[in-house]
Structure formats: C-alpha cells, structure tokens
C-alpha cells in the first residue's frame, strides 16, 4: 500500500519545487557559525564537548613579551633536538569555518570550541562514550547529601603553557569573569541559573574549590563545569570591558591543554604545537594544524591529496570518499536533527490548532525515503525527541508516525478538512471556507533543508494539502522564526548539548527567547521538565524524560523528522582517533601519524 518511492523519483518530483529555492540558495552560503547548519555535526557549540578553555589576557605592560612565551618555549630547533631528531610530525584538521575567539569564556561557535578544547582544560570533561562527566583538571569531586555543594579536588602539578602552576584561584577567577556583566560571556545567565553569584564559588585551599548551588541542577557537571580554565596571572588586569578585546583572546591564548598556541593566519590556518609538559603525557604528534577550507568540494580534494588528514564530509560525497584508497570514513550518530515547527499561535495562523491535523501531516511523510534520498541513507527516522546518542533516548512506547497517507487522509476527513468537490476545485482540503494551505520556510543555501521542504510539498500535496516551499536568507529566516513569528511552518535543524534537557524547545518558558518559538505550552510537560532539571539521579531523571517524550510526541507541536549522522573522513596514516560525537579530541595526545 505504502509504496516506497525511489530516491530519483522523490528528488525529481521535489526538484521542480525547490528549483527556484535552490537558485536563491546558490547565492547565499549558510552562516558558518550557525549551530543549525547540518555541517555543524561536530560537537555542538553549546555542548560541554565544547569544553573550551579560557584565554588569558596578557599583562598590560608587556603585550609583546606575553605573546611569545608559548612560541619561545618550542622553537622548532629546540624541539627537533630533544626527541630523536627528524622533522616535526603534523596532523591537519580540516574545518569549514575559522575560529573567532580563543577564550572559552567568550567563545560560543563550534570552530573556536575545537581549538579551545586543545588549548585549555576544564574541571570536568565529557566521556567520548556516552557524554557522562569525567575528571579532567579535577581529579575527583564530591557532592553533598542535598546535592547543593560540589567540592572539586584539583590535580597536582598541572602547569599552564607559560610554566605557571594552575591553582584553585584560576578556577575561581574564570567563574568570576563569567559573572561580570561587562564581560561578553554568553553563559552568564546559565551560570546564574545554578549559582547565586561570585560568592557561591569558594577556594578552600590551592587545590580545593567548592561550588554552592541555589537548587539541585542536574546538568551542572556537563553544562557548567566543562568550560576551560583561564590563567588568572595573565588576565587579572584585564577586567570588565577590556577583557572582551584583550590580545590574549586572539594573539596569545595560554591554557593547560595538550597543544599550545603558535600562530593564527585568519581565514587560513591555526598552528598549535605539542605541550611537552601536558599532564596526561606529551602529545605524540608535534603540530596540530587547524585548516580552514570553506568549500565542500575542496575539502574532498584535499582529503584525497593528503593536504588534509581528517574532516567532516557531506553525505553526497560519501561514495567518492570511500573509494579513495588513502581514506577511511567513520559514520556516527550525532546530536543534531531536522525538524519543522507548526505555528500554534492563533493570532498568526489557526491551521494547526487541532492535534489531528498536526499528526496527520506527519503520517503523510515517507521519512525513510527522505533519509535515503536526501541524507544518502546517513541518518534515521526520528522516533523520540531525544537524539539517538543521548542517554535519555528510548523510543519504546513512544507514539510513532509511520508513513501512511491513507490514515493521514482519514484523519483529516474526520477532523472536517474535506477535499472540495465540484467545478473548479483545486483538490486542496477546506474547513469552514479555510484552505489547508500554508508556506514552509527554511534557510536558503542549505541544500539538505531545501530538499526537505521540496519533498514536504510533494507528499502533502498527495493528501490534499498545499504547502509552498520558500527558502529565505538565514538572517531573515531567523528574524521570522524568533522575533516576528510570522510563519506557518518553519523547517530547521539543530544540535543539542550532551545533557538531555530540552526545556528551551518544549517548556512554556522557552517561548521567551528560547527555542519554543511556535508557542507550545503544556503545563504537564513544563512540570516534568522542571522536575527533571532538579533530579540528580540519572535513572529517575530518565524516567521523567520518558514521560516528556511521550507527551510531546503525542501533542506534536513540532515534528522531528530525522536524526543525522556525522561522516568523518580520516587519512589512514592517522591512528588513534575514536570517532564520536561527544568528545573527538578526548585522547588527542595519544594520536599518531604514520
């Protein structure tokens, strides 16, 4: 009955619709930093995985001098002399966008997060296996009975790249900086959600630091404690506004991480050198090169020529990359998905007030065919609001919406949306004189999303629903989606953090500046989401999310279409990379190149 549609046909029929959109798209490349872009399949910026580190500002008196210590410590000459001689080994990491600011207190984009992960360490890092918290700068921590006090014991003998030893004062300094309203840290409010203010962070002794929470906050470790620690001695005199533009942030960042900053040619590459004093052991590869290649085809070319050792490739290039004799491609689930939101605000549109309509539209979509055709099979039909790799993911008993156009038609008929008969009828369903016709927006330049809205139009037309696909420039779409909210349906995607808290999207509070831009409100869901945030027992928390999952999937304020995968092409000369979405760099010091 539900005949599968071949990839070619699906795209062909959709092709006409998207043709115009694609033209527009060709003119506007996707915003590099937007977490919503599919290429953002690397650890999402917000994730603790972006456990970035801070950057320090230098002493005001000696900017030039401060800029050199990292470099001076590793003159190529010296380096070649110490280990058995030979040219330095090097790994080249290919990325679509350049980093913007190498200070983990200020940065938020995935690109900066990548470098910051190499330059800095946080107290806690997330496990590459399941995203659970693991010791990093903290060798251990204790939680009080009431779940309100966290006491971290720091590792002994950890040194910043300039040789200064890290102490609890540096940790306190880093958090104090985030609290400073003049500092442009995007995480101040998140921190204030958990802590009262600077007074909540107390240095007990040089290796012990205590955090007092306002109330139990489950994501504390993986959300708050995974940010890199800044060297106080280099930034102490750069407070307030000066912190935002300190040379430290772009010219001389100093952390404790496995690699130290050497050189940054903006829009070309960042060169890092092994930190021989790294507390987990000196990295085996002497130089880490972060290479900025903004064109997808050129990324493929450089992977093949070996000018790049590893990089994320587009599903459309998968077959070609797998054929290349020097490359191995890892495919792994990530935390991102593609979804569309129904606008539930009555003042904007009244089409989606009935649950049956929302559900019927999803039944009409052959999402398996979309995965095959648009994602080249590299993804899965979404069956939960939690990404597949999340520990909260558990699709059992979830309401499911398998492809069933007949059921969709029956549901719409039953809800009173009938196909008009008679002369001049255009086959579009109507109810009380209103047509089931609307526009589906997405951002221009994102080929995957443009393909999706084309297919949506086609498959909805088959059940008598008229959807007009429209691709808009990214800024314009964002404005429409977040601010004016003048839309019926918007298709977009994004990446979640390691923690399964999705309040931003489903809670009523999320309507104010969060991601609940379509006006969803269910008091029961709100309650459960709040409970889950305060529940520090993982199993109990998971049980709460199970209920949320079922409720939201039944209400269906937004339809999550598919989960996506990351395709990481790695040169076979590189050994030791554990491909995963949580923390790709967790064992970077152990990587080798042959």
């Amino acid at each position: 009955m539900t005949k599968r549609i071949g990839r070619r046909r699906l795209l062909l029929t959709a092709g006409t619709a998207v043709g115009a959109a694609a033209l527009v798209a060709a003119c506007g490349p996707p915003t590099p930093e937007s977490p919503a872009r599919p290429a953002a399949t690397q650890p999402p910026a917000q994730v603790p995985a972006a456990a970035q580190s801070p950057a320090a500002a230098q002493p005001a008196g000696a900017p030039a001098a401060a800029a050199t210590p990292a470099a001076a410590a590793t003159k190529p000459g010296e380096q070649a002399a110490a280990p058995p001689a030979g040219p330095p080994t090097r790994i080249v990491d290919g990325q679509f966008s350049d980093a913007s600011i190498l200070n983990p207190v200020l940065s938020n984009d995935a690109a900066s997060g990548r470098i910051n992960d190499l330059l800095y360490n946080a107290l806690v890092k997330v496990s590459p296996k399941d995203g659970s918290p693991q010791p990093d700068l903290a060798e251990s921590w204790q939680t009080s009975e009431d779940g309100l006090t966290y006491t971290f014991k720091l590792r002994k003998g950890v040194k910043f790249h300039d040789g200064t030893e890290l102490t609890a004062e540096d940790v306190k300094f880093t958090f104090d900086t985030i609290f400073d309203p003049e500092v442009n840290s995007p995480r101040r409010s998140t921190l204030l959600q958990a802590l009262e203010g600077p007074g909540s962070v107390t240095v007990k002794d040089p290796r012990t630091i205590e955090f007092k929470l306002k109330q139990p906050y489950a994501p504390f470790l993986v959300q708050v404690m995974v940010r890199g620690i800044l060297p106080k001695h280099l930034l102490d005199d750069k407070q307030g506004k000066e912190f935002n533009s300190a040379d430290f942030n772009t010219k001389s960042p100093v952390g404790t991480g496995p690699y130290k900053f050497k050189e940054w040619v903006k829009d070309s590459y960042i060169l890092l050198e092994a930190n021989k004093e790294y507390f987990k052991g000196a990295p085996k590869i002497d130089q880490y090169v972060y290479k900025v290649v903004k064109d997808q085809v050129v990324v493929g070319a450089q992977l093949k020529t070996g000018e790049m050792d590893f990089g994320v490739v587009d599903p459309s290039a998968l077959a070609e990359m797998e054929k290349a004799p020097n490359l191995a491609v890892s495919k792994y689930d990530n935390l991102s998905f593609v979804y569309y939101a129904y606008n539930l605000d009555k003042s904007k549109t009244e089409l989606f007030q009935e649950k049956e309509v929302r559900q019927a539209l999803l039944y009409a979509l052959d999402r398996k065919a979309m995965v095959d055709a648009i994602l080249f099979g590299q993804g899965a039909v979404a069956d939960s609001i939690f990404p597949k790799v999340s520990w909260a993911y558990d699709p059992t008993d979830n309401p499911q919406y398998p492809y069933d156009p007949n059921k969709a038609k029956q549901m719409l008929d039953a809800a009173g949306w009938r196909v008009p008969t008679g002369r001049g009828a255009d086959g579009v369903r109507e109810k009380n004189g209103r047509k089931l016709a609307f526009t589906v927006y997405t951002n221009a330049g994102n080929k995957v999303r443009e393909a999706f809205i084309g297919v949506l139009q086609e498959q909805w037309r088959a059940i008598g629903v008229q959807a007009t696909p429209k691709a808009e420039e990214f800024g314009a779409l964002l404005n429409r989606f977040n601010k004016t909210k003048d839309y019926e349906v918007v298709l977009i995607g994004f990446s979640w953090g390691v923690d399964p808290d999705e309040s931003a999207m489903w809670s009523t509070n999320g309507q104010q500046g969060g991601f609940n831009t379509n006006g969803y409100s269910n008091p029961k869901v709100d309650d459960l989401l709040d409970q889950a945030l305060r529940e520090t027992d993982k199993d109990k928390r998971k049980a709460i999310y199970k209920q949320v999952d079922k409720l939201v999937l039944d209400d269906l304020p937004s339809a999550i279409l598919v989960f996506q995968k990351t395709l990481l092409a790695v040169n076979k000369r590189v050994k030791g990379i554990e491909a995963n979405t949580f923390n790709l760099l967790s064992n970077v010091e152990g990587w080798t190149v042959g």
């Binding site: 917000q46 995007p186 995480r187 070309s268 020529t305 994004f494």
Partner: protein
C-alpha cells in the same frame, strides 16, 4: 590641472561621507546581526544576548551609533570587530599585502597576455585566430569563478597526484608551519592566479580587440596607409590610441586590487580582503563591514580620479577645467 585634482579630492570627502551613511543604513536594514549565532543557540539565554547587545552599544538609536562611529573614523579609529574584539585597522593591514600580491600578479599576467592577443586578433579580423580568441573570451566569460577554481584543483591537484605527476597545492599561501620559501610561495600562487587571470583575460581581450578595430577603421589610418606608411608603423599609431579605454579599465580595476577576489580567495584559502569581507558579511560584523566600506569607497573614488588624470596625460584632446 593641479586645481582640477584638488577640486576632485575635495569633492571626494562629502561623497565618501554620503556613501558611509547610506551603507550604514543598508547594513543595519539587513535582518540578523552579530549576535544571531547566540540567538540561535538553545543554551544561551535571551538575557545574555540583550546584555551583550548593550555592552556593544547596539541598543542605541541608529543615528547615535552612526555618529559615534563617524567620530571614531574622523580620529582615525576604525574600531574593533564586534565578533572577535580584534583591532580592525590591524585586521585590514594584515590582509592587504596578501590580496595585493595575488591581484597584482593576476592583473599583470592578464594585461601582458591579453593585450597582444587582442591586438593580433584585431589585425587578423575574422580570421581563425580572431574567431578562436573570440570563442575563448565568450566561453570563459560565462564560466563562474568558483567552478573554474574547483576545476583547476580537481585537475592539477587531485588528478595530477593520482597520475603520479608533480601536482600543485590546492590552497594556502605557503606550506603551513614553514617560513614559506620563495619557490614554495610561487608554487602556491599558480592556481589562484590562474583562476583570476583566465577569466580576467577574456574581457580584456575583447576590449583591446574592439578598441583596436575602431582605431584601424579611422580616417587617419587610411591616410597614413595611403601615403605609404608601412603597416607596423600604422599599427603602432593605432595601438597607442586604442590604449585609452584600456587605461580607463585599469583605473576602474584599482579597487579590485584591494577588495580581493572573494570566490578565488575562499576556494584557495587565501587569507585576503575578500575572505575578510565574506566572513564579516556572514557574521554581520558591522564595524568591520563599515571599515571595508570606507576603504573600498575611497579606493573607487581615487581609482576613478587616477584614470581621469592619466586619460588627460595620454590624450591631449582631454582638457581639465
């Protein structure tokens, strides 16, 4: 002449001011902003976005922001990037040499190669060479820049390597983590220069050819021929006169030398002005965009002035008053 130049220079000031005011309004009218990336991140709260907006002064009335910016500009301060906090004058200063290197080289090759071809084509009007150069110009003109760049990489980097031939690097200015020896830099220049010069030549060939053809059809050429002047001498006369429009073109090209070639820079990872502008536009880095507007509008105005002056030097019929 001196008075003419002085007047033109003085006229530039209000012109550039008007350009900045209009650009400022246009840039701000575009949806999105430097904080869009934050707004799109579910982990960042709206309070933080608002606070950072205030810190950056973006909550002030537009005219006030413009005046603050203008005040800085009049004091020689281009400000700092809203996204990275870097000093903009320094950002531009590090890019200009890279862009100039690539652009000057490509332009030189274009002129050196295209002018003789254009002249030769005109002299052999409607013969095989002319037809072929016409075809070349038409085809290359129609090829999008990014496509040509990618094609060059796929052939001269990927294919050449897979055939075991010496292959060219597919991007960057020099081998990363080296000092960048001269030969290494030259090798890295080949593909991006070609990607710029090949399509650039197309227009120039056509310009030269039609300017030359026009001169060859003039009465003075016929007269010169009729009184027995030999062909090479006549050609030289015609060529000198046909240089006029080509010089104008060079003047108009001046801003391009600095503004960089966006597409080629992106494809070949060339850290020049084009990429700076591209990133700033994508991130809506207002202060950087405005600085680029100032720099490029000054260059356009100066380029036009230079072309006009050189025109007068080359052509005595052009007078200044």
């Amino acid at each position: 002449m001196r008075r003419y130049v002085l007047r033109r220079v003085l006229e530039m000031v209000p012109l550039v001011l008007v350009i900045t005011a209009i650009s400022f309004a246009l840039i701000r009218a575009v949806p999105g902003g430097p904080l869009s990336a934050f707004e799109l991140d579910p982990s960042i709260k709206p309070e933080d976005v608002e606070r950072i907006r205030r810190n950056l002064g973006l909550d002030r009335p537009l005219y006030e922001q413009y005046l603050v910016w203008l005040w800085g500009l009049l004091h020689g301060d281009l400000g700092r990037s809203l996204v990275t906090g870097r000093d903009i004058a320094e950002m531009i200063a590090t890019r200009v040499p890279n862009t100039l290197l690539l652009a000057v080289l490509a332009l030189a090759i274009q002129y050196v190669a295209a002018i003789p071809i254009g002249v030769y084509a005109a002299l052999h009007h409607r013969r095989a060479f002319d037809q072929i150069s016409n075809l070349y110009a038409a085809v290359v003109h129609a090829v999008p820049g990014f496509w040509l760049g990618i094609l060059l990489i796929l052939v001269f980097s990927v294919q050449f390597q897979s055939w075991g031939l010496p292959w060219l690097p597919s991007g960057g200015m020099f081998t990363i983590a080296t000092a960048g020896a001269l030969d290494d830099r030259l090798v890295h220049l080949i593909l991006p220069t070609a990607a710029l010069a090949i399509p650039g030549m197309a227009g120039l060939i056509r310009y030269t050819r039609s300017a030359m053809l026009e001169q060859l059809g003039q009465d003075y050429v016929r007269t010169a021929r009729a009184k027995g002047l030999r062909r090479p001498a006549v050609t030289l006369h015609a060529f000198r006169n046909s240089l006029l429009p080509i010089v104008t073109l060079l003047g108009l090209n001046l801003p391009l030398l600095f503004s960089g070639a966006l597409v080629v820079e992106v494809i070949f990872q060339w850290p020049g002005m084009g990429q700076l502008a591209y990133t700033a536009a994508m991130q809506r880095d207002y202060t950087v965009l405005m600085a680029l507007v100032v720099v490029s509008s000054v260059l356009v105005v100066v380029g036009n002035l230079l072309a006009d002056v050189v025109y007068g030097l080359l052509d005595p019929r052009v007078g200044y008053s």
